[in-house]
């Protein structure tokens, strides 16, 4: 088992993603991946409308949440990154804002120092 942690952060307000990434880079966190993901209810609710086709086109119901993943060297770095994200994005306590968590990383290959 390594000391590394995998930080997973899913945000529903993608407008803040760029600010979060810039702040992380400024603090020295340079590695990470971004994926488009969809919430469970968002997926279930995504039905083609009967009468509201025009509005669904205009508002583009295919919008996705953004998932940011990054391997942190240790617990201290992880907490620092989480604080930076929360400072910019705001609290995750509200419903439909997103989620942030970490998991221990057992083995790593390819991490850049």
């Amino acid at each position: 088992m390594t000391n590394a942690k995998l930080l997973v952060c899913i945000i529903s307000n993608e407008k803040k993603l760029e600010d979060i990434l810039e702040a992380l880079i400024e603090a020295g966190f340079t590695g990470g991946s971004i994926l488009d993901v969809r919430g469970m209810f968002e997926y279930l609710a995504d039905e083609i409308p009967l009468f509201a086709g025009f509005r669904s086109l205009i508002e583009d119901h295919t919008k996705t949440n953004k998932m940011f993943m990054s391997v942190m060297q240790d617990e201290a770095k992880l907490r620092q990154a989480m604080d930076i994200i929360e400072n910019i994005y705001g609290s995750f306590a509200e419903t439909n804002t997103g989620i942030m968590f970490s998991v221990d990383v057992a083995n790593i290959r390819g991490i850049k120092q």
Partner: protein, 349 residues
């Protein structure tokens, strides 16, 4: 058991049964036509239900309101003028052509109305097959609004001057009152409850005064979409249960409208189907409209708007049970929807 209680039992049973058979909240590609057929079956049971017909008006009102509440001017003005020109030409010319041909079969009034109702193309059906081409999806998405405007024009010609003025006053007064009341509420639950109340009140008032519930609510919806600060909450509330409400509407419509089981009705249906098939085929092949890159069967399904537009006029006329023209129309819509889906599916394979 009283006949009306029996009827309510039938509705609940059928709704639950069909819900179970189709196993999901979503509608099939037939956009609920199976529920209409079920309604026809109930109409064959000999129960006096004409006194319950006012139940249909709020459904039409809700569809009108939902349709109107999508029309935010800032969205509408974003689209290209050439695009609008091609959609308007498509809608108007296709309506005109179908009307001219159908006039040989039906009265001029019914020919115009069936033409207006059969020009819209089911967005839900098309979007299942064509997912990436946004030009086509926008094209399909705009047609129902134009059909609604054509229906409004049709009523302008059809109504007496007094009724016309009454309708205009109704639209203005209800728009202003609805906006005023909805703006002074600040929680979602109150807005939703009030919205339901408003739609029922507007629709039933229209029914009593012999006005179109669909058109009046459509216009009120447009006003709300552009001038009410809670427009998005209102739209979400209207949109949230669209499938369940539409299913109930189709069940009730099938039951109240009934179907005339006469050879002449089915012959007329067949002719309407042929006319629509030929006219749509020709129009979809015209390169100017830029729809020919997809298989033309995708665009054949009339969908929910067709039924809604024609139902509004059927009720406006008095809503006679098993009316010949309306029976022919409903059979044509169900058949066109089935043809479109079956052909599109086989084409996909």
């Amino acid at each position: 058991m009283s006949p009306k209680l029996l009827l309510i039992f039938f509705i609940i049973l059928s709704y639950a049964g069909v819900f179970f058979v189709f196993r999901k909240r979503s509608l099939s590609l037939l956009v609920g036509m199976e529920y209409l057929l079920l309604g026809f079956l109930f109409s064959l049971v000999d129960i006096e239900i004409d006194s319950l017909k006012p139940l249909l008006f709020p459904f039409l009102g809700w569809i009108g309101f939902l349709t109107g509440s999508q029309l935010k001017l800032k969205y509408v003005l974003r689209l290209d003028k050439k695009f609008y020109l091609s959609v308007i030409l498509f809608t108007v010319l296709l309506t005109g052509t179908i009307t001219v041909v159908l006039s040989a079969l039906l009265s001029a009034e019914h020919a115009v109305l069936i033409a207006i109702a059969l020009v819209p193309i089911s967005y839900r059906t098309v979007a299942q097959f064509i997912t990436e081409d946004r030009f086509v999806l926008f094209f399909i998405g705009i047609i129902p609004f134009l059909a609604m405007l054509l229906l409004l024009l049709f009523y302008f010609v059809r109504l007496t001057m007094d009724s016309l003025l009454l309708m205009v006053i109704f639209i203005l007064v209800f728009s202003i009152i609805s906006r005023f009341i909805l703006t002074h509420l600040d929680d979602k639950k109150s807005i939703n409850l009030l919205l339901v109340g408003l739609i029922i009140f507007i629709s039933e008032s229209c029914a009593v005064l012999g006005l179109s519930s669909l058109v009046v609510n459509f216009c009120v919806g447009i006003y709300i979409a552009n001038f009410c600060p809670y427009r998005d909450i209102i739209f979400s509330a209207l949109y949230k249960d669209e499938k369940q409400l539409y299913i109930m509407f189709l069940l009730l419509l099938g039951m109240f409208a009934g179907i005339r089981l006469e050879p002449a009705v089915f012959l007329n249906s067949l002719l309407i189907i042929l006319v629509v098939l030929c006219c749509k085929y020709l129009f979809l092949k015209i390169t100017y409209f830029q729809l020919q890159s997809h298989h033309w069967f995708y665009f054949l399904a009339p969908g929910g708007f067709a039924i809604t537009l024609a139902t509004d006029f059927w009720l406006f006329e008095g809503g006679a049970r098993a009316s010949a023209w309306f029976s022919s129309f409903l059979v044509s819509v169900i058949s066109l929807q089935c043809i479109s889906v079956l052909m599109s599916k086989s084409y996909e394979v």
